[in-house]
Amino acid sequence: MSLGALFFVVAALGLIAWFVARARAVAFRTGRRERFSALPGHHGAFVALWTMLPPLIFLAIWWFTSPALVTDAVIGTAAAANLPPPGFERAAILSEARNLSRGEAFGAFHDLSELLAPAYAAAQSRYDWIATALAALLAFAGFAFAYARVRPTFAARSQVERIVMVLLLLASLIAILTTVGIVASLVFESARFFSIVPVTDFLFGTHWSPQVIDPRDPGASLGAVPLFWGTFFIGAVIAMAVAIPFGLMSAIYLTQYARPSTRRWMKPVLEVLAGVPTVVYGYFAALTVAPAVRDFAVSIGVSWASSESALAAGLVMGVMIIPFVSSMADDSLAAVPNSMRDGSLAMGATPSETIRKVLVPAALPGIVGGVLLAVSRAIGETMIVVMAASGVAQLTLNPFASTTTVTKQIVDLLTGEAEFDSAKTLAAFALGLTLFVVTLLLNIFALIVVKRYREAYD
């Protein structure tokens, strides 16, 4: 039986187990009036979980390991003696044979794969039988173990609760483990990159031109400082110059000045901005804002202004971040107790004095934390800069000049037909790792700041 079919069989077994155990629990309850620690349903769930979980766990492991076992079995056959040595060709033949055996390929490019296909089918069916047998064995063992415990005194309820807790824990661990996996793959590929290019060349080099890499000294044209600068300039300087004032002021307006009826429609509208797909912001930046910025620059005498300027990308990114800053600032201002505001107003302070001198200082740690989170989002933002920023890396302070960012370069490096093992492609992973570390540190720092502040009023 295939794995998919097995899965359904196990589920069906679980259902049967549930009914059987429940019936037994109902039977020992009838005619007795004492208190039982568990309802019949709990006994049913306990036995069903014990019936299903062992084979399911086994099948999950099997799913990852069985292809290798099958392939090993095929390689062990006499027909496989003619296989080429391990490498690309050998893998291609084996893969073709597997597809043939499943009927997923229409013909063979290699005679050998046609020869191996029957061996594949045989090995596959043999291992499928083993899997079926093992799964059935585990299901029955689990069932027997649990069913023997279905007694009036058995606290099935708390046992089920425990199993559920473990399942929930596993669910939350998956996200964490995935993060660990991502970091591991980044680190692994980055390590390969740094075996070609020295870390110092990459981190401190000021020349970035991955199109032309000198094979004798790849580090000379893979200095990432212009990228870091461009990212910082667009994401942390220009975007924040837009997002901080407008986000903060809109939060102040919404929390302090707006009537409830105004707030009721204005806050959701502002939050809609956060839901606009970034690629749409990218169009807007590339098609509308960038030409306008260039025309403006030309009109004030900057004749060489780029149509892929840092300013255009940064402005649109800033607008994208406004709702983010605004909602963080809104939360922080709302967390300042009303008694602060009343205290200040009762001293004869005007609303704006109260905001400037009491509310914003009191909410400042929360606002700073929000801004840091916003910065980390801005520097990780990809779509806007892919569409609106240029690919030219230069160290410049001029907002009308073209600059590029880390994310934009990662996309450029990984698209196209460069071979995977080259310094050029691997540089993308080193950039990704650097970006990941920077945003991670920013997030941690921001969370510490926000947390410390939250405690102040509790």
């Binding site: 602060m340 505001r341 200040s344 107003l345 009762a346 001293m347 005007t350 009491v358």
Partner: protein
């Protein structure tokens, strides 16, 4: 005896609901006036009409005539900023700003431009803290955060903060309800000391406190002013049966 505040036929509404009905009262310059009454009787609401703190509640609406030294405080010409500088307020829960002790006291004088220079500000801060009976305890740590003080000290800091702008009236909205008995006793002493310099109006749910600190007492019930007179008379010889019932603890 001079009348500092005169209120005539005051009604307060929160949306549709009427919280204060036809209240008329005169507040003396020289006395401490206590507002007593059961929870929800409108005593705090009425107190907040006296410095227009009800303006901060969007649904609140005030009718009637309230005058401070004969000036209509709800007229269009009245500057709320000036009014609140003249009528200070101390709240139920101590609410020092998350700034230093010094900055808490200097906050009002800064806003109103009362000090020209550091030494004048220092003098105002010292005088206010002294009057609030807090100077001796905090003079060596003026730069510590106001929120690090104990509850009773925080409340005295709030009183110092109110005094610092040199108000004519101080409104106190249950200033001791969040404090322990010892801190309460200190605040009551302080109210004694401040009497005469400022007209003081104190809202309290504690009748013994009203009897201890005030010369005049007003009894509120269901948004109405039931009885107003000398504290001694109210507590020993009330005219209204409802006052008698409340004072003898039959409800409240």
């Amino acid at each position: 005896m001079t009348q500092k505040i005169t209120a005539h036929d005051v009604n307060v509404f929160y949306g549709e609901k009427q919280a204060i009905r036809q209240v008329s009262i005169d507040i003396d310059q020289e006395d401490v006036t206590a507002f007593i009454g059961p929870s929800g009787c409108g005593k705090s609401t009425f107190l907040r009409t006296l410095n227009r703190m009800n303006d901060t509640v969007a649904s609140a609406r005030v009718e009637g005539d309230i005058r401070l030294d004969g000036e209509d405080i709800y007229s269009k010409d009245m500057d709320v900023v000036q009014l609140r500088a003249r009528v200070g307020m101390v709240f139920q829960k101590p609410n020092p700003f998350p700034k230093s002790i010094y900055e808490n006291v200097a906050y009002g004088p800064r806003i109103h431009g009362l000090a020209s220079g550091k030494s004048e500000m220092d003098a105002i801060v010292e005088q206010s803290l002294t009057r609030a009976g807090l100077w001796a305890e905090v003079k060596d740590r003026l730069s510590d955060s106001g929120t690090a003080l104990s509850g009773g000290q925080q409340q005295r800091l709030c009183i110092a903060r109110a005094i610092a702008v040199d108000p004519e009236v101080i409104l106190m909205d249950e200033p001791c309800s969040a404090l322990d008995p010892i801190a309460t006793a200190r605040i009551e002493e302080l109210i004694h000391d401040l009497r005469g310099r400022y007209a003081i109006v104190i809202v309290t749910h504690n009748m013994q406190q009203a009897a201890r600190v005030s010369q005049k007492t007003a009894f509120f019930h269901l948004g109405e002013l039931v009885e107003y007179g000398d504290t001694n008379d109210i507590f020993t010889n009330p005219r209204e049966p409802r006052t008698t019932d409340y004072i003898t603890g039959r409800y409240g």
